[in-house]
Amino acid sequence: MVKAQKDVFWKALLLTVVVFMMGVFFGYLLEENRVNKIEDNFDLLIIDWDDAESQSSYYQILDKDFCDEAITQNIKFGNEIYEKGLKLEEYESANRFLDRLDIEKKKYNLLKIKFFINSKIIKEKCNADYEYLFYFYSDVEPDVVVKEKQRAMSRVLMDVKYELGDKIILMPLAADMDLGVVNILLEKYGVTEFPSIVIKESVRLDGVHTKEEILAFF
């Protein structure tokens, strides 16, 4: 004689809730861990930034013979901040609960601007020969066409950076994060659509372009 085992419905529900909550919790932990990693990286980056900024101040004010070293340190920091920015994008796209890392991104953008200002001072004081390549992109829910245009341009700019190395400072900036200083740059260069690049602070190219088109300006 078989009696309908109705208790299994509740047991299954209980087990499902427990496993589901554990999975969600574990997934949340994974994401939080990634955010923490980004924050730790940012703290380290701030230390590196303070170091780079102090060094450049020292070279500029006290010891102008060390211009080459100031330029090298500055470029090294520029590369570091670029790499960390890529990691941040990668982590953000994997997250499902903590899906926006706006605050971290704003911090990175501001640090990039600080770096830009510092590298501009060094360029003037030390007569450095590097040029700037600004890359303005939309970060807050861009439509799929803009997103794919940006993806293509990111690859093109990576190739440009690889080709020109330390001759350029690549400055990718999220343009729609409501940062005052970024808005000033957008206005200065007349950027209204994305993606857009500004070469040597004078030539603006909107949309998708080839590596060769960009290299022709250098």
């Binding site: 004689m1 078989v2 309908a4 085992q5 109705k6 299994v8 419905f9 047991k11 299954a12 529900l13 087990l15 499902t16 496993v19 589901f20 999975g23 969600v24 574990f26 997934g27 949340y28 994974l30 994401e31 990634r34 890529l86 994008e89 990668e90 982590y91 796209s93 994997a94 997250n95 499902r96 609960f97 899906d99 799929v144 066409v145 997103k147 794919e148 245009k149 993806r151 293509a152 341009m153 990111s154 690859r155 093109v156 990576m158 190739d159 998708v208 372009h209 080839t210 590596k211 060769e212």
Partner: protein, 409 residues
């Protein structure tokens, strides 16, 4: 959290619930899955074998029933030739001394043929055997024992695929094994919702309720089971009783068969829709109907999500290719490969693990065999490709059901 994240999580939650329900049933009842019941008495049994153009198989089917170890003086075999255009009748006549033959002058269809035969059947129990199915010697005897349990109106068997050569037949063999195991588990919550045609038995009084098999339904076996459950009877399955049936060996035939199953399932759902969550009908209203609808719904949600992802990816790939071409940049880059784990990856791993567990248990408890390394490619094909065909057939079925309203065998 995005809307689609919510959809994925809901899908995961429902899948986990159904998975745990079956696994709990398995662990709770694993000693009873292969339980062998011996009958204390042998009631008069009528075996009905309807056939339409089955000249190649009908002889072996009749022989398999005749080879049964059920007492022959209690066994009546009625074969029905439903106006076949081949030599089915000739094959039947080879057994004319041992079986009763009904020869339809017009093609009535399976349900009506069975009803016609049931009227002249003298058995207390009626067995239905498809004309391309071959029960094991002991199957009929073992199944009969289940009718000794109070309130049992129908008993079915382990429907297995006759050894086939094609990959499609082998995949169906895996599928049928899992279905048999699942069906046995559902028995413990009075949730068996189909007694398939290859070999099922009915208490005659239960079978003849509401006019017998519904001739308007193209899956008369599903409808019959729901009717029996609705009237308060219990349905059982004996895993030890095996019947081997032919299965489609071409994808086109497989598709057609599944289309029929889905359409019949939908017809039945519509017919019994008022039973949903109605406690008056016990587990039929509280579990069978909702379970059936939920699995349909889950397949649809799964397919919608799949198509959403697919179309999005195709459109993205098109744009990516277009802009990569315009910019003369590479089409692919390492950044496209994001290997950072997230909550979906965790649950997907868990559900795949349970899928494998299902395969292992079904092979062990239905076929009494362990999965070996040589089975892995077939099982992987089953989990990754074969199962993903289900929702596509379902969409086709819904199209047929809603738009063309074309229900046929």
């Amino acid at each position: 959290m995005e809307f689609m994240t919510g959809v994925y999580l809901f899908f995961i939650l429902t899948s986990l619930y159904l998975t745990f329900l079956l696994l709990i049933l398995h662990y709770k009842n694993k000693d009873m899955l292969r339980e062998i019941r011996e009958p204390t008495r042998f009631p008069k049994l009528s075996v009905l074998i309807p056939a339409w153009n089955e000249e190649e198989t009908i002889g072996d089917t009749i022989q398999a029933v005749l080879d049964s170890d059920y007492p022959m003086d209690k066994l009546e075999i009625i074969v029905i030739n439903d106006k076949s255009s081949d030599n089915t009748l000739g094959e039947m006549q080879k057994f004319k001394d041992r079986v009763k033959i009904i020869n339809n002058e017009v093609n009535l269809g399976k349900a009506s043929s069975l009803n016609k035969a049931a009227k002249i059947a003298s058995g207390e129990i009626i067995a239905v055997v498809d004309a391309d199915s071959y029960p094991n010697k002991e199957s009929i005897r073992q199944m009969i024992a289940y009718f000794e349990e109070e309130g049992v109106g129908a008993v079915t068997s382990s429907i297995l695929v006759k050894k086939g050569k094609t990959r499609l037949e082998k995949l169906q063999a895996v599928e049928y094994t899992i279905i048999a195991w699942n069906r046995k588990l559902l028995q413990f919550i009075e949730g068996i919702y189909v007694t398939p045609g290859p070999l099922s038995m009915y208490r005659k009084e239960a079978m003849l309720l509401d006019g017998g098999f519904d001739s308007k339904n193209i899956t008369e076996d599903i409808e019959m089971t729901w009717k029996i459950l609705k009237h308060g009877y219990k349905v059982r399955i004996d895993l030890n009783s095996k019947v081997y049936c032919s299965s489609p060996n071409r994808l086109r035939d497989w598709w057609k068969q599944r289309l029929r199953w889905n359409l019949g399932g939908m017809q039945t759902m519509i017919k019994y829709r008022k039973l949903i969550f109605n406690p008056r009908y016990g587990m039929m209203g509280l579990f069978v109907v909702p379970f059936f609808i939920t699995t349909f719904f889950l397949s649809l949600v799964g397919l919608t999500v799949f198509f959403y992802i697919l179309i999005k990816k195709i459109f993205q790939s098109y744009l990516m290719t277009k802009y990569a071409y315009i910019s003369s940049s590479s089409f692919l880059s390492a950044d496209a490969l994001n290997l950072n784990a997230n909550v979906f990856a965790l649950f997907a791993t868990l559900l795949i693990f349970f899928g494998i567990l299902y395969l292992i248990y079904s092979q062990k408890y239905v076929l009494d065999r362990k999965i070996g390394v040589k089975d892995v490619p077939l099982l992987a094909l089953y989990l990754l490709i074969y199962l993903s065909l289900y929702p596509f057939v379902l969409v086709h079925s819904i199209w047929r059901f809603v738009v063309t309203k074309k229900f046929e065998w």
